[in-house]
């Protein structure tokens, strides 16, 4: 009784879900925006909703010594927003903590 077609296991499940250990799906967009003067904002869009963004931002703020917040956006969901140019920092941090793989990060801006 080992006919493969009768198995209930969905052969495409892996391809759709990816590996079990990463919850992150899709790209994480990391953008930079210029504010007044030489000040900048870094926004991180596309982190999975399963993560607790509040906790992430709390530890980011501590790690990078900057302020930050979580913003609810009707279209893009929860977006992380950090003060200053934290693109490098956030990329390293996200990969170090294991929230996203390097190829899932997309850095925009100059």
């Amino acid at each position: 009784m080992s006919i493969q077609n009768l198995n209930t296991r969905d052969p495409f499940a892996d391809a759709i879900k990816g590996n079990d250990d990463d919850i992150q799906d899709g790209l994480v967009h990391i953008r930079i925006q210029q504010r007044n003067g030489r000040k900048t904002l870094t926004t991180v869009q596309g982190l999975s909703a399963e993560y607790d963004l509040k906790k992430i931002v709390r530890s980011c703020k501590k790690e990078f010594a900057c302020n930050g917040t979580v913003i609810e956006h009707p279209e893009y969901g929860e977006v992380l927003q950090l003060q200053g140019d934290q693109r490098e920092n956030i990329c390293q941090w996200l990969t170090k903590v294991g929230l996203a793989k390097p190829d899932q990060l997309k850095v925009h801006g100059f």
Partner: protein, 313 residues
């Protein structure tokens, strides 16, 4: 492969250079022996992937290659070209020269190498010479088929050289190098007042890339997360302060995504819009693939909130 253990570092360097040209030739499928070559040296195959990347860089701006050609830039060109914004110029001017060197090293190793090197590259390659010399000796004293008479094994270098000689014999026009490289003018970026930046040769760049200025404009503004517009004399005014270097980075990304073919990396492509999606059609290899749409994504509030509130209500 017998002698390789001795001078590993220099060999690595050389191999890389060879591969850039070697890949292309193999890809052209001109010679059967090219394939044979591949089979013989398994390690070469690994390197090809990395080297394809190099090829891409060559095509886009040729600048990321810095790693490889450090000796050049530092020794010669930094001093020679004092103008500030000419970063691209430097590299572009630099490229053909390097190409020549590559070819010298690759194709005519047996006869020409020593002479040409002594002549003009002595001071440039001063540090490399020492490493190469050991290899030179080895390379020079074997002609294309020295192993024919003896019963010793042929080395990888010998085989590679043989392949290049055959290729060169069969098609002499290859000697001039590969396809014309993607040469681009560096962006002229100036500050207008304190808050705005003008991108003077925006139209030229759009033209050299064969892209609609509007498409490039959309991409630039989305990536930089600002607003901007064309002014009376066809230059782009962007809100915010930007350095030429920063604009160049964005342009490079644009070229990688929307100009070079994703399959063969040639810049001869057409961007078509088909049912709301952009497709990149390659002229040289005929591949067609969709490219990402330009999205500006989430934009944080940077202006005065009071003003926004006044506008919406």
């Amino acid at each position: 492969m017998e002698g390789e253990d001795g001078f590993d570092p220099s060999l690595l360097k050389k191999k890389k250079k060879k591969k850039t040209t070697f890949d292309l030739d193999a890809a052209l499928g001109l010679d059967d022996s090219a394939k044979k070559e591949d089979l013989i040296d398994e390690s070469a195959v690994d390197a090809t992937a990395a080297d394809l990347d190099d090829n891409l860089d060559l095509e886009s701006f040729g600048k990321k290659k810095k790693k490889k050609k450090k000796p050049f830039n530092l020794d010669e060109l930094e001093g020679a070209l004092p103008e500030g914004g000419g970063a691209d110029d430097i590299v572009i001017a630099d490229d053909p020269e390097e190409e020549e060197i590559n070819l010298d090293m690759d194709f005519s190793m047996a006869k020409k190498k020593k002479r040409s090197k002594k002549k003009d590259l002595d001071e440039l390659f001063a540090d490399k010479m020492d490493e190469d010399k050991g290899e030179d000796k080895e390379n020079v004293d074997d002609s294309s088929s020295t192993w024919a008479g003896s019963d010793r094994d042929y080395t990888y270098d010998e085989l590679l050289k043989r392949v290049f000689e055959i290729i060169l014999d069969k098609n002499p026009d290859m000697a001039g190098g590969r396809k014309p490289k993607f040469v681009m003018r560096p962006p002229q970026v100036l500050r207008v007042g304190t808050k705005k930046t003008s991108f003077a040769n925006f139209m030229d760049i759009a033209k050299t890339l064969h892209r609609l200025p509007k498409h490039l404009l959309d991409f630039l503004l989305a990536e930089l997360g600002t607003s901007g517009s064309m002014d009376g004399n066809q230059q782009l005014i962007i809100k915010g302060r930007f350095q030429p270097k920063q604009i160049e980075n964005v342009l490079r990304r644009y070229i990688k995504e929307y100009v070079t073919c994703h399959t063969c990396r040639s810049p001869e492509t057409i961007l078509q819009k088909d049912t709301r999606l952009f497709f990149l059609q390659c002229e040289s290899c005929g591949s067609r693939c969709s490219v990402a749409s330009i999205k500006s994504g989430f934009q944080a509030v940077t202006g005065k909130r009071a003003a926004i509130r006044a506008k919406t209500t």
